[in-house]
Amino acid sequence: MKRQITNLIAAGTLALSGAVAAQAQDQGVLDTIIERDSLLCTGHNGSYLGFAEVDAQGAWQGFDIEFCKALATAILGSPDKVQIIPVSWAQRFPAIQSGDIDVIIKVTGWTMTRDTELGLQYSRPYFIGPFYVMSKTELGATGIADLEGGVFCVNAGTTIERVLTDYMETKGIAYEPLAFEKGEELRAAFYAGRCDAIAGFGPFLSATRINAENPDDYEILGDVLALEPEGIVVRQGEDDFLDVINWMVSALLMAEEAGVTQANVDEMKANPPSASVERLLGVTPGVGERLGLSDDWAYNVIKTVGNYGEIYDRTVGDGSRYKLPRGLNNLWNNGGLLYPLVMD
């Protein structure tokens, strides 16, 4: 009898401990990261080629991973202080809400539902993702309209499902949609000929093409379905953390604009060509304190991962096997849509 009662009390306490865990979250995530001395950032369940993939040595590589490293460097001073947590597309939002990850850097499109109803906050876009359609060369299609009636394969649960539906409805093109949960299955189905075309994010299509047995069998059609601005996501109310992220993205773009690279950053710091570069690299104080970081955070980031252009080139651009053109992800003065904010 007595033991039964103690058991019941124990069970009751267990149920209430959920409330205690919730209170622990009241501390800002930026403080939590500094206290923990590591940043929990998103990877992928499998490989999202070019953005988050595991290399032959078992290390994470890719455009998004570089941004994770850059953020860890900005806050904690070292790219090794990032922990990549593999999550699927669907898991990313519950995972950030439960605190399993601190930040989502996972080509996440800025949509109204996510921004308002999921209790999330977006950084300024760090990547502009165009959606294209890739089909088999043997079908001889020059535009999406030539694929009338074909089977279009997509990734389930991503924005592309809606983008494609809208586009096809607007243009009045009949098609059969087929959605796959995992990129590997999608690719296998496309190579096998189950689909006439796949619609997706430009970089994903380009990676899919490169990985095919014979890349020349496939071609990406010129029609752009839509653009998707990708942002870095934090929990609603993490304003300080979001400030750091926004200025980190800005610093990477500013460095490219000013010609500061991984190779010449020491030289630039010793001999700054302009007052703004002086501020950026922390030669004159101010750039760190206002964000609660050290003054040389931007210097550290550039020294570790390079500027925006270098990251792009190394992971998805000409320096990588994907050879994805910069296109809209160029700086504004090179015909792109990206620009740094004003660092005064």
Binding site: Q4, F93, E117, G150, G157, L178, F180, R194
Partner: protein, 378 residues
């Protein structure tokens, strides 16, 4: 009071009541805590999203679904897809399982060997691998333009199996249903009165003729009776298509499920007392008659409880469909979670849906079990 507690009966009641109350309190506190945490994180809760349109289409569905359908309708379509593939699996797996069981208990060595080999192969490979295997085979068939054709009416390609389909309008279907109902009614009446067999056959034929006449005369001129698949551009138009996703899932589940069901049935068949079979033989019944009238009815009673379990298990196994792009309930819920972000609500719906389906199966089979139980025996 002291006296009350001294009563054994009251004490037992108090402990049990107390336990139930505490269990309810824990459950309520968990729900409330969860709700508060979700509200703290600024996430919208509730089932309001069900009324919103999804914006994404479905590859395969029994009811019509477009990007403008609501979440409620899309989820319903997913549930129907699960039930479609699930119930078809149960039917086919049971038939195949029965064949396997009969092979395994037969006295013919070759039959025994074939049955045993089948069971060992299909029982020991994970169901998801089997489904992947069949899907890979189906998607590696030739493209629609180079499809295998049979008399130019049946086509097999990596887009599925295209078959001709009867073109029935809604009123035709009602007619067909009415004819079937009338036929069944007559059959049932004939059963009650022996010796009327020929008459009901006549009635049935007359219904069929009437239906055929109405079908031909009642339709619009030029409307064909049968729609035949035809290659148009990249796809086949007309007829009915068995898509590779559906077929691979069905075949994988049936072959896997049959190996388990076969073993359960074998157990049931072996549980039948040998004396009863020998009694049948002594009466001069043929092997078929012994199976039909003695062995199977008795075995059925013995295997039903284990069979219900296996049926429910198979129904849950349909969730592997998500891996090959079959939009079953699980896949649709998963996509909805990603698109709407209402994780808790959708998971509750997911669990609720499966509980309803599986509880119904369990309920029906338990009722049958109660009904056919041999009376007056322990």
């Amino acid at each position: 009071m002291q006296q009350l507690f001294a009563s054994h009966k009251f004490r037992r009641f108090a402990i049990q009541a107390g336990f139930v109350i505490v269990a309810i309190l824990i459950l309520v506190s968990l729900v409330l805590t969860g709700q508060r945490n979700i509200a703290d994180q600024g996430i919208a809760t509730g089932f309001g999203f069900l009324e919103r349109t999804t914006g994404w289409p479905m590859n395969f569905s029994v009811i019509e679904v477009t990007g403008r359908s609501t979440y409620a309708r899309v989820l319903w379509a997913g549930l129907l897809n699960t039930m479609l593939v699930g119930f078809m699996t149960l039917i086919f797996a049971t038939v195949l399982g029965l064949l396997l069981a009969l092979m395994r208990v037969s006295t013919n060595t070759v039959m025994k060997l074939v049955g045993a080999t089948y069971v060992e192969i299909f029982r020991n490979v994970p169901v998801i691998l089997q489904v992947f295997f069949w899907y890979a085979i189906l998607t590696h068939l030739p493209s629609p333009r180079a499809a295998y054709a049979m008399n130019d009416v049946i086509f097999l390609s990596n887009r599925g199996l295209m078959l001709p389909a009867p073109m029935l309008s809604a009123s035709d279907l009602w007619l067909l249903a009415a004819a079937l109902a009338a036929g069944t009614f007559n059959l049932w009446r004939a059963r009650a009165k022996p010796g009327t067999g020929r008459r009901w056959a006549l009635v049935l034929v007359s219904y069929a003729v009437l239906f055929a006449l109405l079908l031909v005369t009642g339709r619009a001129p030029d409307a064909p009776l049968v729609s035949v698949p035809e290659l148009k551009g990249l796809r086949y138009v007309g007829g009915i298509t068995l898509k590779p996703e559906f077929t691979a899932l069905l075949v994988g589940l049936v072959l896997f499920g049959a190996s388990y069901i076969g073993e359960i049935m074998r157990g049931g068949l072996l549980s039948v007392d040998r004396g009863k079979l020998e009694a049948g033989r002594a009466l001069g019944l043929s092997t078929f008659q012994i199976n039909r009238f003695i062995r199977v009815p008795l075995a059925f009673r013995a295997m039903l409880p284990a069979l219900s379990n296996q049926y429910i298990w198979l129904m849950k196994a349909t969730t592997v469909g998500i891996a090959i792009g079959y939009p079953d309930y699980f896949a649709v819920v998963s996509t909805s979670i990603n698109q709407s972000g209402q994780t808790m609500e959708l998971l509750a719906l997911l669990m609720g849906g499966f509980i309803v389906i599986n509880y119904s199966i369990g309920f029906v089979l338990n009722t049958v079990n109660e009904r056919i139980k041999l009376k007056g025996r322990s």
